[in-house]
Symmetry: C2
Subunit: 304 residues, 2 copies
């Protein structure tokens, strides 16, 4: 297991690339295209789930699993499930009725590459398959653990989590009156909940003590917000060639963001504070959590 060779000295970029390689190979295996005319929806699912990306969420699953004694196969199954849910959310968000995006990371979005109906179905198929993967015996020998994963992912991704956050985001468009509390809650639901699940996954798989799971939840909470503030900063300051989207798109859309409310300097300071808080939550794990600490720093220092 590549994860088995991760140590407190493993450079973060190397571990991130490891995770991406492992999860892409596993996704490629899981998303085999069957014969028959339904192949088209599988092609669209593969196009979206295997699209270029950092694979940050799968990395967080593998890195949180690395804190404990978790089988590589278990961690990879969960990493694939979460990446499928992330991919489905992007496919549906990009639809004309939602954000109406033609490009993502320089490639045509799913409905541009295929068509809208296929994109709706590909998202539905990825979301559904994520739960099938979690419930599969390969994910864990103990069905109680598999149920807890299904339950936690459904809560994170559903209307009380990511779907609810997306609903709020759509309603908030062109609404510059949102205060910092409302934006924090929106982001906690829209992106934070799934990131929190990724970070807790290792603890669930390891049946870890509640206080360790709580520590990971605290880490994830601060990491998720730092991630979003960094995103907002990139939208203002980023290089569009690196981020793959035009700079200033939030301001052009009239969106209230952490940066539009706090200003660049205070937003940057807030992101740094959140990273320090996130890192502090990891103290109980000592040097085994070094990769998660690096991940937190990466999230605010990244350029894309």
């Amino acid at each position: 297991m590549t994860l088995g060779t991760w140590s407190s000295d493993t450079p973060f970029p190397e571990a991130l690339a490891d995770a991406a390689r492992l999860v892409d190979a596993a996704l490629d295996r899981l998303l085999a295209v069957p014969p028959g005319p339904e192949a088209r929806v599988f092609e669209a699912m593969r196009y979206s789930a295997l699209a270029p990306g950092k694979r940050l969420r799968p990395f967080l699953v593998l890195a949180s699993s690395h804190l404990f004694t978790v089988q590589r196969r278990s961690a990879l199954q969960v990493a694939c499930a979460i990446e499928m849910v992330h991919a489905y959310s992007l496919v549906h968000d990009d639809l004309p009725a939602m954000d109406d995006s033609d490009l993502r990371r320089g490639r045509p979005t799913c409905h541009k590459k295929f068509d809208e109906a296929t994109a709706v179905l590909a998202g539905d198929g990825l979301l559904t398959f994520a739960f099938e993967v979690l419930a599969h015996p390969d994910t864990h020998g103990d069905p109680a653990v598999r149920c807890e994963l299904v339950s936690a992912l459904a809560q994170a991704a559903g209307a009380h989590g990511m779907v609810g956050g997306q609903m709020i985001d759509l309603l908030a468009e062109n609404d510059r009156s949102l205060d910092i509390g409302a934006i924090t809650r929106l982001q906690r639901l829209k992106t934070g909940a799934l990131i929190a699940f990724a970070c807790e996954a290792g603890a669930i798989l390891a049946k870890a003590a509640p206080e360790l799971r709580q520590a990971l939840r605290g880490y994830a909470h601060d990491l998720g917000l730092a991630f979003q503030i960094a995103d907002d900063l990139l939208d203002v300051e980023g290089n569009s060639e690196q981020t793959g989207k035009p700079t200033g798109s939030d301001a052009a859309a009239g969106k209230a963001t952490f940066v539009s409310i706090l200003g660049v300097e205070r937003a940057r300071a807030q992101a740094q504070l959140l990273v320090r808080q996130a890192v502090a939550h990891l103290d109980p794990f000592e040097e085994r959590a070094e990769l998660l600490r690096s991940a937190a720093r990466f999230v605010v220092d990244r350029r894309a």
Copy 2:
């Protein structure tokens, strides 16, 4: 438990109405609207899941559970999950990019009542919540049973089942060259898989012997096809006031159906044959299966 009062003499329409009342009350409880702006997506989820309908799939869950010793609460949880998946599939199917339907049973479809983005999210929310409900301890005391339910529903609803069937259906539009084998497969995936899950649910909840589960699968297979042929016949012969959609819509859309291939007479004979086959699968359950036998007859005799 109302189900507890079901006997071999209970008239089928009464049992169907019982099931609808029970599952609607349970859905109403599960789909509580939270405070906060995300309330809108919950309103849309409720609008769709609690829309008028026969609740045939929930009935099949309760009736198959009635064959065994299954707690009412367990059966209702599964009935709610399957109705949520059915409702999500209708919401997404009705979208402009898919079937582009403005009305369903005389009411505006979800995207007409709300908007397209909300409808996409409401479908996503219902699908996700179905898995949360199945994984919840209320569904069954044994997590292995809950995992089996999650797995079976995901397989029935996903790209190897309902989503795949919907993909084939979209590709087959305006294709009159489909033969009876291709249409049978399309319908087995698009509507048959979810009906089969509903019929097997009782056996899964009761940890029934494999041969009893197999008998229910056989029943469901024939029932699902009979159901679809009856639907095609209603499209040709039905009263649009009763069915809620214009008569002849399949022919107008250039769709190959069981009726366009077999003709009305042979299609009706085929449906009756399938009902007799479905009923024969129920022999091992003796008089306890009387409601499922009535359901099979109802499916081909219904007028809407």
